[in-house]
């Protein structure tokens, strides 16, 4: 399995690694059992994401998607960030292998989870906005791919 150059670039030189000491909001998703956990810290000032940092336990694309996701939301308004989709993250990375699409889902969800905290803390959650968060607590690991499309690794 081979990653795009963009993925490798973001894996080897991840942008915005770390934690934000005085983060406005934090979103942690994933599960160590599944082999990936992503945590995204946001520094939000006046509804604008001034800074974002991530920490990731996971594979190459987990790191790359979290790195890309932080890049994509820094400087955006929370409303704009809420529109971030996993597809957009994957596309920004010039695509991901089918079996790795779930990583982009995780990245989207980590961002959303942090945003959810911000919306809740600031009492901004309208019904309309609540919908945009979808069901964050559902299995973030529904790989959502056609079994038929799975190349696989043999354990040898």
């Amino acid at each position: 399995m081979k990653y795009s150059e963009k993925v490798m670039d973001h894996f080897l030189h991840p942008r915005n690694v770390g934690e934000i000491e005085d983060a406005t909001a934090r979103g942690t998703v994933g599960n160590p059992t599944c082999g990936d956990i992503m945590r995204i810290d946001l520094k939000i000032i006046d509804g604008i994401i001034e800074d974002a940092k991530f920490m990731t336990f996971g594979c190459g694309s987990a790191v790359a998607t979290s790195s890309m996701a932080t890049e994509m939301i820094i400087g955006k308004s929370v409303g704009e960030a809420l529109e971030l989709t996993n597809k957009a993250v994957a596309e920004a990375l010039d695509g991901l292998p089918a079996v790795k699409m779930h990583c982009s889902v995780l990245a989207e969800q980590a961002v959303k989870k942090a945003l959810l905290q911000y919306y809740q803390d600031n009492d901004l959650l309208t019904d309309e906005i609540r919908e945009k968060f979808g069901n964050l607590d559902d299995d973030a690991h529904d790989h959502g791919i056609d079994e038929d499309d799975l190349p696989g690794l043999g354990n040898k």
Partner: protein, 414 residues
């Protein structure tokens, strides 16, 4: 980026030896006849095959009638298991194996379960060892086969197969052992071992991928797996792959000639590298048995990080290795072997297998010993688990000074 690349994935596959390529080339070019025919070119092909069979038999100290060439280790395992199942179903439909077998064995067993067979999967201890007494206890009147691998491909643990074979013989049950990782690495003697069936694969000892050997003890009759023409004494159909048969034979000759010296050399390299890594990288566990272990196998779990990331960073520095993290295979589960020896999912995900081979030197292992701590540190500094651990929010599972066994380890609560 033209660094020297260092290959540490010999347990997955090896490069074909130049001597083996040289032995095969003339066959591709000139010995193309149908080995089962009535003309010179066919006789020549047939002679190469029978001489190869004779040589392999001598190397394994068995009769040429007990040696069959197959298309890979997987085929040999499938044949042993399904061939026994289909031919012995009057006696019974119960088979016994272990939880740490290669998928060639496990998935063959599962295929049989779908056809109404029953399989007992024996658990292993923290080192990956099968207990022969458990084999004995698991045998029932309707048991037709016990299949326990000779050495594990992931953690390198060498099983007490002679003892298990003895139990099977006493109970009148056929015994198969997947010796794919063993042949060329440790002494393999089917007769001394007392196995009825043994599977081997060429690409683990510098022959090409796509050729295997099956040992079937004289007198043992199992159904064919590859049905068709009368090749291989009517027991394995398909036009003979003469070049690869010559190739696997040459490779085996060379591997066995080198083995006494080479295994000593590899054990020294292996133990030195394990010691170095465990002393420089905290929270590191050696998976598998410290001594009952393939000479070339190192398997380490590094807490708080994930295996694929390690591989990718190693690749950047020119190393090739593998991991028990299988998130990539579409399944969320890490290696069944690592789980079977009691690792939690998160620890299993952080494992790295380094398997050494003939071209590896002390220089290579020292270079890795120098490079790996930085890679692990870099990934840990990116890991939210490690951050939480440092902050005291979660406890470590592997002791700081490292260990080779873990029992009842807990899973993190995040």
């Amino acid at each position: 980026m033209e660094k020297k690349r260092i290959y540490f994935d010999h347990a997955a596959t090896t490069a074909v030896r130049p001597e083996v390529i040289s032995a095969m080339l003339p066959i591709f070019e000139d010995v193309y006849g149908n080995p089962s025919s009535f003309y010179n070119e066919g006789y020549a092909a047939n002679r190469y095959i029978e001489q190869s069979r004779q040589t392999v038999a001598e190397l394994l100290n068995v009769s040429p009638k007990e040696i069959f060439f197959t298309s890979c280790g997987t085929e040999s395992d499938n044949w042993a298991i399904k061939g026994t199942a289909f031919s012995k179903q009057k006696k019974g439909k119960h088979l016994i194996t272990s939880t740490i077998e290669h998928h060639a064995v496990l998935h063959s067993m599962q295929a049989l379960e779908k056809l109404g067979y029953e399989v007992t999967y024996l658990e292993v201890d923290g080192y990956g060892l099968v207990d022969p007494r458990q084999v004995e206890e698991a045998i029932r009147p309707d048991t037709i086969l016990v299949s326990i691998m000779m050495a594990n491909n992931e953690i390198g643990t060498i099983q007490p197969v002679a003892e298990i074979a003895e139990i099977c013989r006493a109970k009148g049950v056929l015994f198969h052992t997947d010796a794919v990782q063993a042949l060329g690495a440790i002494p393999v003697s089917p007769h001394d071992l007392g196995a009825d069936l043994m599977a081997f694969s060429g690409h683990k000892f510098y022959a090409p991928k796509g050729v295997g050997i099956m040992y079937i003890k004289r007198g043992v009759r199992i159904a064919n797996f590859m049905d068709g023409g009368a090749q291989e004494n009517r027991r394995r159909a398909g036009t003979e792959n003469t070049p690869y048969i010559v190739g696997i034979t040459k490779a085996l000759e060379l591997a066995l000639a080198a083995m006494p010296e080479e295994s000593k050399r590899l054990i020294a390299l292996r133990d030195d590298l394990i010691r170095q890594l465990q002393s420089t990288i905290p929270y590191t566990k050696l998976n598998g048995h410290p001594v009952k272990r393939l000479p070339n196998n190192i398997n380490l779990a590094f807490e708080f990080i994930e295996g694929e990331s390690i591989l990718l960073l190693l690749n950047e520095l020119g190393y090739q290795a593998s991991s028990g993290s299988a998130c990539t295979s579409g399944s969320l589960d890490p290696s069944h072997v690592l789980l079977a020896i009691g690792l939690t999912h998160e620890i299993a995900h952080g494992s790295l297998r380094l398997s050494l081979g003939k071209e590896n030197t002390k220089e290579d292992t020292d270079k890795l010993a120098n490079d790996l701590p930085g890679i692990i540190e870099r990934l840990r500094l990116m890991s939210p688990l490690y951050a939480d651990f440092k902050r005291g929010k979660i406890k470590n599972i592997i002791p700081e000074e490292g260990t080779d066994i873990l029992k009842g380890a807990l899973t993190y609560e995040v």
